[in-house]
Symmetry: C2
Subunit: 222 residues, 2 copies
């Protein structure tokens, strides 16, 4: 969706399917579009939409209370016009210090990051920031449930994968290992979720399995 | 000092000490001053600072992982200057749909709102939005730990008070009851916390007590 502003400049709002299609035609444009997408929300838009709708579904039915955190902004200049709302006139995107989603289900603290990839074969680890890994490690230490929701957009496949598995691949990469996680790793270690109508992406079912598996592991350790 | 003006009306000249005292008591002036404070940050600044420092202290020592959520912003216009960071040129503050702080401690989901009041006698309930109460109810239903941190700035006293107690007062207000919670209610039902150096406001100790009390109540109910 392109909006023409009074100054005559074009402003492209959040990247949608149309612009993505166009972008995919040229590598340069694709790169630019990706850059822009990153500066908006750090990921493709549609997974975010699906998760927001799913979270609303959970909230309204008292199934869980999970929200996307607002994008952190550094506000530099605000105008206070008389008798109307304050207008932010200058601000910048800041790097988030946590993951994007958190909340509570049945007494469990839920914390995750959602990422999309166009690749058909592997998930590039450059999509994940070191601060997200360290945040999730801290969450795990506090006995929270930390995971990633990874969408292979082209394949239309979605996975819930424990923070631990991703952290191991991340660590291996920093020790000279491969820079992406093969699809096969997801097929073996992640829980696949199907897209649906209501909710759009019922990841909570996968999280329940994840928790059950973790509890079993912890019992075995004892 | 009273001056009689040509129009025959009385005009009281520069306010002396007496009238200043009166002004500070005047509800209109107080209201205006409060409005201005509210439009800046929705609460006094120092409680937020103390909590941010305390949360950093907890995080760095692996005691808890609790963060303030970014202020939600509706972004309308973004410029992308060549070779530099995107600049937000027009944006508006949005009403948050949740509380400001959440995170995890020892497997417990922690969720709270922080508010300050200048009053020496009671906490005005107009500082709390209905959506915060319904959010906290939902959190409680999911077995999260929901509470308020209330600072009586003038008295330099800080309280951690369970969501339940505030919700009851809030409900009573909507049924025609009083519009504020007397200090005595806090002294009876809340846990007082002392300001310190490191951490500045060790609210986690109070939250542990809150959880212990809740667990006892739940056991008794069984």
């Amino acid at each position: 969706m392109v909006i023409r502003y009074p100054n005559g400049k074009l402003y492209e709002s959040a990247p949608n399917k149309e612009s993505k299609k166009e972008a995919s035609k040229s590598p340069t444009v694709a790169k630019e579009a990706k850059k822009r997408a990153v500066s908006y929300s750090n990921r493709g838009k549609s997974l975010e939409d699906d998760l927001n709708e799913t979270n609303l579904f959970y909230l309204q039915r008292n199934l869980a209370n999970i929200h996307k955190k607002p994008v952190p902004i550094q506000i530099v200049k605000v105008d206070y016009p008389a008798r109307s709302a304050a207008v932010i006139k200058e601000a910048y995107f800041r790097t988030p210090s946590t993951t994007d989603y958190n909340g509570v289900w049945n007494g469990y603290y839920i914390d995750f990051e959602a990422k999309e990839t166009d690749s058909k074969t592997s998930f590039p680890l450059k999509n994940i920031h070191p601060h997200q890994i360290s945040h999730m490690e801290s969450v795990s230490n506090q006995r929270g449930i930390a995971f990633f929701i990874i969408r292979f957009s082209t394949l239309k496949r979605n996975f819930v994968i424990s923070y631990n598995v991703v952290a191991k691949s991340f660590q291996a990469m920093h020790e000279g290992g491969r820079k992406s996680m093969p699809l096969a790793v997801f097929e073996q270690y992640a829980i696949e979720i199907q897209e649906g109508y209501l909710p759009r992406l019922d990841y909570l079912q996968a999280v329940k399995k994840l928790i059950a598996d973790t509890d079993v592991c912890e019992s075995e350790e004892k």
